[in-house]
């Protein structure tokens, strides 16, 4: 069994209530923010379809607007969100490690 790498830092800091609460809060804030960006689009689209069918039936290059958004544009949008999330969450972890070891 390899020794835990926490040996050089005061263990009470990592195991303190404050550390865990901060850790979870920061992670949850990041995740929730990204989820909101996604949910607004995902849950908003049916609503727009419902309330403004005439606008969504407009043609763009043969597609109806509703079809273009859902069938094509949605995928890159989600990639952008996840790319953002991964970059931010890796940076967050690096900062947390540094903070815990200080």
């Amino acid at each position: 069994m390899p020794q835990p790498q926490t040996a050089d830092s005061p263990p009470d800091k990592i195991h303190s209530e404050a550390f865990l609460r901060d850790l979870m809060r920061r992670q949850l804030t990041l995740s929730t923010g990204c989820a909101l960006a996604f949910l607004v689009a995902l849950l908003g689209l049916p609503l727009v379809n419902y309330l403004a069918p005439a606008i969504m039936a407009r043609r763009v290059g043969g597609f109806t607007l509703a079809w273009l958004i859902l069938g094509v544009l949605f995928f890159p949008y989600v990639w952008a969100i996840s790319f953002h999330f991964i970059r931010r969450s890796l940076a967050l972890e690096a900062r947390e490690v540094e903070e815990a070891r200080r």
Partner: protein
């Protein structure tokens, strides 16, 4: 040969009318898959190898393998078939299949991986220190798994019935089921990782190449959509594609306006059966759409055979990178099947008249044969490639499901509950027996579901996962106050209600069938009359996620609050392991503290 034995006769009939190109491509796919399974069987020795591939798979391989496993017959065949059959509303399926991964990435993938356990039942037990809860969690691996294998089996039966025009549907199901079961029993997951990574690229190739060729001949995505008029004004101004005019739609096909607009035939079916006016039907359609979205997005995050793969990443960072790549890989894939559905509506409308294995679910396979007229044998080659992709689709997903269901039975039911003192050799042996047993049950179920749409059935598996595993994982990871009783109550109630709702919907749909299944399920026919009077109940039963997911989460909170003294004593340590960066090495500390607990 003077006389033909009766057993050979159906085979001879089936062989007549077989296109050699299609046959060759399909056979090569199966042969390569089986060969790779056997080859890797030699290199996988220990029980750990069998269960999670020794946890040593690189990001690229793992992302391809997850995508390969995830892109099932529903993605490869079902989406195109459903887009052709019902139009716009079917687009929610590919979008939510792909986007559900985001939820997994945001809330579940990282923590779960840091916690480190082989399976969801492992997580359930570790999080609540409760062997009883493990047993409850294992049930859902099997519930969701069997619901998810049914559409894969329909895909298998449909594809074989297409390749061999005379072959009965059930024979295809039985043959494919037997081949995959054998493969899994011999290879385990190490083989599967390699095979599935390869199968992703095969599926990608098999869906994109026919789309590009067909689009070059018949015009692109937008052009083919534009001949479907969304409004009466458009209909008047419609310009037909002169070189390739669309074919006459049969009476069974939905009209252009309903097909291309949101809230079409899928979401208004229940309201139509109840003879509601279009104005009364619209809110119900919106409700249906939301419920479908919840089921698909939350369900992805709770699929047992996908989650187990996050444990094959070397660390949490790799698990996140893997999810990013999975979303790109499957997102690119999901743009293509709807194109086939659109082309199919315009140029192969006769499939609207087919039922079961002869209906729109086979459009992906058959559409490429259209270019036979221009390019002769190339049409057959493309159709053969599409069949190879279909094989890759249902084989990979079924293999993955079989591995996780078999793992649950061998690792949890046998290794933990029945015979905790069993040796690794005995568990390996049990893995093989369990694979064969579960494969046989899957084939039996698969034979019953010919009249149901592939994609629709997958949606139901997602709805069950959404109401059971998703609340469990989400709440266990983010809320310290959860107790085992709360988790179990919520998961069981939500999951079982979703299961019952899905089963009732299927039974009543099968009762409408004109074939043998209609007779078998005839006792459920009165249900359809009931639903004609209660369209809202029908929708809530067909798409239960909108009430089962909040119910499950609500029960978890209420029961956990009521049993707050049962919160595990070391909850702070557990939460630290779930959330603290792995570089801090808390996992090792946690294991040292738990040396006394049952090891793997």
């Amino acid at each position: 040969m003077p006389t033909m034995s009766p057993a050979v006769l159906p085979l001879a009939q089936a062989a007549a009318g077989v296109d050699p190109w299609i046959l060759v491509f399909s056979l090569v796919t199966v042969a390569v898959t089986v060969w790779m399974g056997f080859r890797s069987a030699k290199t996988s020795k220990t029980a750990g190898d069998f269960f999670v591939a020794g946890r040593s798979v690189s990001v690229g391989w793992n992302a391809s393998a997850i995508s390969g496993e995830y892109l099932s017959a529903a993605s490869f065949m079902g989406i195109a078939g459903m887009v052709m059959a019902i139009g716009y509303d079917a687009l929610w399926y590919p979008v939510c299949y792909a986007c559900g991964y985001l939820f997994l990435l945001l809330f579940i993938a990282g923590p779960l991986r840091r916690f480190g356990a082989y399976t969801i039942p492992d997580f359930a037990e570790g999080r609540y220190d409760s062997p009883l809860f493990r047993k409850i969690a294992v049930c859902f691996v099997l519930f969701i798994g069997f619901f998810y294998t049914m559409p894969q089996m329909k895909g298998a039966g449909t594809t074989l019935a297409y390749i061999f025009p005379g072959l009965p549907y059930w024979v295809g199901v039985a043959v494919v089921g037997a081949v995959i079961t054998l493969n899994v029993a011999l290879g385990g997951m190490k083989g599967i990782t390699l095979v599935q990574a390869m199968q992703y690229w095969m599926k990608m190739f098999a869906i994109s190449v026919p789309v590009f060729v067909l689009a070059a001949v018949f015009g692109g995505y937008g052009k083919n959509l534009s001949v479907n008029a969304a409004t009466p004004a458009e209909k008047a101004a419609l310009v037909q594609n002169v070189e390739h005019p669309r074919l006459e739609l049969p009476a069974k096909a939905p009209a252009d306006e309903a097909w291309i607009s949101p809230f079409g035939p899928l979401t208004t079916k229940a309201a139509k059966a109840a003879k509601l006016s279009p104005e009364e039907a619209r809110p119900l359609s919106l409700l249906y759409t939301y419920s479908l979205i919840i089921a698909l997005v939350c369900g992805t995050a709770g699929l047992p055979h996908i989650l187990v793969r996050f444990y094959t990443n070397p660390d949490g960072v790799a698990a996140k990178r893997t999810t990013m790549w999975v979303m790109i890989l499957i997102g690119v894939f999901y743009v293509f099947p709807p194109v086939i559905g659109v082309l199919g509506r315009n140029f192969m409308p006769e499939l609207y008249n087919g039922v079961g294995a002869k209906g729109t679910d086979k459009i992906v396979l058959e559409l490429p044969t259209l270019i036979r007229a221009n390019y002769g044998v190339l049409g057959s080659v493309l159709s053969g490639i599409a069949c190879a992709g279909a094989f890759a689709a249902f084989m990979s997903t079924f293999s993955g499901l079989l591995v996780s269901m078999t793992g649950a039975v061998a690792h949890d039911v046998y290794g933990r509950m029945l015979r905790p003192d069993s040796t690794p050799e005995q568990r390996m042996k049990m893995f093989k027996f369990a694979a064969i047993g579960i494969g046989a049950v899957s084939v039996g179920l698969g034979c019953c579901v010919e009249p149901l749409e592939i994609n629709f059935m997958v949606g139901q598996a997602f709805a069950i996962a959404a109401a059971s595993y998703f609340p469990l994982l989400f709440m266990s990871v983010w809320w310290r106050g959860m107790t085992m009783k709360g988790a179990a109550t919520g998961m069981l109630t939500g999951g079982i209600l979703a299961l019952v709702a899905a089963a009732l919907t299927n039974a009543s749909n099968l009762a409408l069938d004109k074939g043998p299944m209609g007779k078998l399920f005839a006792p459920f026919a009165p249900l359809n009359e009931f639903w004609a009077h209660h369209p809202l109940l029908r929708i809530l039963c067909e798409q239960p996620a909108i009430w089962t997911v909040p119910l499950a989460i609500g029960l978890m909170i209420v029961v956990s609050k009521a049993t707050a003294r049962d919160v595990p004593k070391d909850i702070r340590m557990k939460m630290l392991v779930l959330h603290a960066p792995e570089a801090l090495g808390l996992k090792n500390e946690y294991i040292q503290e738990h040396q006394a607990g049952a090891g793997h």
